[in-house]
């Protein structure tokens, strides 16, 4: 009777999360049949196919792109979150609302917005022409820079919101003490705040990295096929090539990469709270 409240959540999460996940793992070992079908089996052919130079290249590109996005987001987001946590409460709340609004934007809308902003007809190049800095408007998409910009846009609010609680809890006397001892603000920030939050920075980096790894539409909307990430290929194989076993094998692999990174982030975070 006492356990009754647990029944519904346990049932839902088991049936609709654990079971689908289990089926997906099973399907990754199934034998693919021509025409989009598959038969129950236990073969590693989908995994073998994944270990080719092409998919290795895509994986390397995905990881590199996610890492670059995470570096940029943390490098800008860290001082930003620090200043945000120290500003007036009303200003903080206004920023938080704005960050949440941008964070909740669909990737479709972010992709649409940036491809408009980078387009020839409605983009920033028109502004540059108007200012006399450019002769004629040009298209700045599709290319790698456009993909990177879109993904930083998508991940930046996330980075700030992950950093924000740690910044809000940071003991303000740390900074005051170093200022009293004569350190200029930048020096105090770099020698006191940054080392104190070294693990938070690392944990945030990993969280943003995992978040960016999930991007699937921006590389398609803002980039060329060589900018496609693993998430795009999974969707492509599942929906357009009707090769569910192969899509599932890639997904299982992506889960393993993600889980090991999340475990690392948790480990780093725990060490900090123990210290």
């Amino acid at each position: 009777m006492d356990y009754a409240p647990l029944a519904f959540p346990a049932l839902m999460l088991t049936v609709f999360f654990v079971v689908p996940f289990g089926i997906m793992v099973m399907v990754s070992f199934f034998q693919r049949q021509p025409g989009g079908f598959y038969t129950p089996d236990f073969v590693f052919s989908s995994y073998e196919r994944f270990l080719t130079a092409f998919f290795g290249g895509v994986l390397g590109f995905s990881l590199g792109l996610a890492a670059l996005v995470a570096v940029i987001c943390v490098a800008v987001g860290f001082p930003f979150a620090y200043e945000l946590a120290r500003t007036r409460r009303r200003v903080q709340i206004a920023w938080l609302v704005a960050l949440l609004a941008v964070l909740s934007l669909s990737e479709v809308i972010i992709g649409f917005a940036w491809s408009t902003l980078l387009s020839r007809t409605a983009g920033i190049s028109n502004l540059l022409v108007w200012l006399g800095l450019m002769a004629r408007p040009t298209a700045l998409t599709p290319n790698f820079g456009a993909v990177l910009t879109g993904m930083v846009y998508q991940a930046f609010p996330y980075a700030v919101l992950v950093l924000y609680p740690a910044m809000a809890r940071l003991d303000p006397t740390l900074m005051e003490a170093s200022r009293t001892l004569g350190a200029p603000p930048l020096r105090a920030f770099l020698t006191v705040v940054v080392p104190a939050l070294r693990n938070t920075i690392l944990a945030t980096f990993i969280m943003v990295f995992v978040f960016a790894l999930g991007s699937y539409l921006l590389p398609q909307l803002l980039g060329r096929p060589q900018h496609w990430t693993l998430s795009v290929l999974i969707t492509d194989q599942a929906v357009y090539q009707s090769n569910l076993p192969f899509a599932a094998a890639m997904a299982v692999f992506l889960v393993l990469v993600t889980l090991s990174l999340v475990a690392l982030a948790l480990l780093v975070g725990r060490k900090e709270s123990a210290a």
Binding site: P20, V108, A168
Partner: protein, 266 residues
């Protein structure tokens, strides 16, 4: 003084970066012509009208709102009993379900999407409109789980003990103490899940993409035929709805606390 200047410059740069694409699509959305030009040529609100007047856009809008409302309700229905149970009892094994509720949000969304795709095809329900409600309900259960566990942590246990001493049973305590105190957290958990479901693409697409068009799917499908000002209008409406909902949460609740900041300083 230079620290103040640094803050001002940093805040301005970030604000410009975050606002730039929105300003451009807002401009595009009020263009008088069908073409995408910026700065806008003339002013017209007809593209906003088209979102509601055009049957295809209106259908997608209705589908999105219905899916978002139902799946957010489902997410709360899963999260509430779970976090209520975990608040009352120390049961480490029950935390496993809490972890399961967080997992879909931590993993790349394509994983959850593919999991549901294989599941619905296996059980033969692929393409049914309700499947996306279940999929989103599970996918976004993390959000009410987080807000509700923060909410339960903020309840003063002395109140509960006092009520129990005076003979109130669990049900009475739930009705007279827990629910009134936890209501803002239920509302914010629902709101977070609602806004994110409204904007979610990949899970919806892999679950019901070919039978039910939600707005993000409709926008993406329309992209193939080029960009239109109607898309810009829809995008601006979406941002406005999200900002409005989060603004209301901030107005009636403690947003910094909901986002994990311990102390609310002034």
């Amino acid at each position: 003084m230079s620290a103040k200047l640094f803050r001002r410059v940093l805040f301005t740069l970030v604000a410009v970066f975050l606002a730039a694409p929105l300003v451009v699509i807002a401009g595009v959305s009020v263009n008088a012509q069908r073409t995408l030009v910026f700065p806008p040529a003339g002013f017209s609100a007809r593209w906003y009208g088209e979102v509601f007047a055009d049957a295809a856009w209106r259908g997608a809008l209705t589908a999105s709102v219905a899916v978002a409302a139902l799946s957010a309700a489902l997410a709360v229905a899963i999260a509430f009993p779970l976090s209520w149970f975990l608040w009352r009892r120390h049961a480490p094994w029950a935390r496993v379900f809490q972890m399961l509720g967080t997992a879909p949000f931590v993993l790349p969304p394509v994983i959850t999407a593919l999991g549901f795709l294989t599941f619905w095809t296996t059980v033969g329900a692929y393409g049914q409109p309700w499947t996306v409600v279940v999929a989103h309900g599970i996918f976004f259960v993390t959000l009410p789980l987080v807000t509700l566990s923060l909410g339960f942590a903020s309840i003063d246990r002395a109140l509960v003990e006092a009520a129990a001493t005076m003979g109130a049973d669990d049900r009475t305590i739930l009705r007279t103490i827990v629910l009134p105190l936890i209501r803002p957290y239920i509302v914010s958990g629902f709101a977070f899940a609602f806004v994110l479901s409204l904007n979610e693409y990949i899970v919806a697409y892999m679950t019901v993409g070919f039978t039910l068009e939600t707005l993000p799917i409709k926008i993406f499908n329309s992209l193939r035929y080029g960009y239109t000002p109607t898309m810009a209008a829809v995008s601006i409406l979406f941002v406005a709805v999200a900002a409005l909902i989060f603004g209301l949460i901030a107005r009636f609740g403690d947003l910094p606390k909901l986002l994990g900041a311990w102390s609310s300083r002034d």
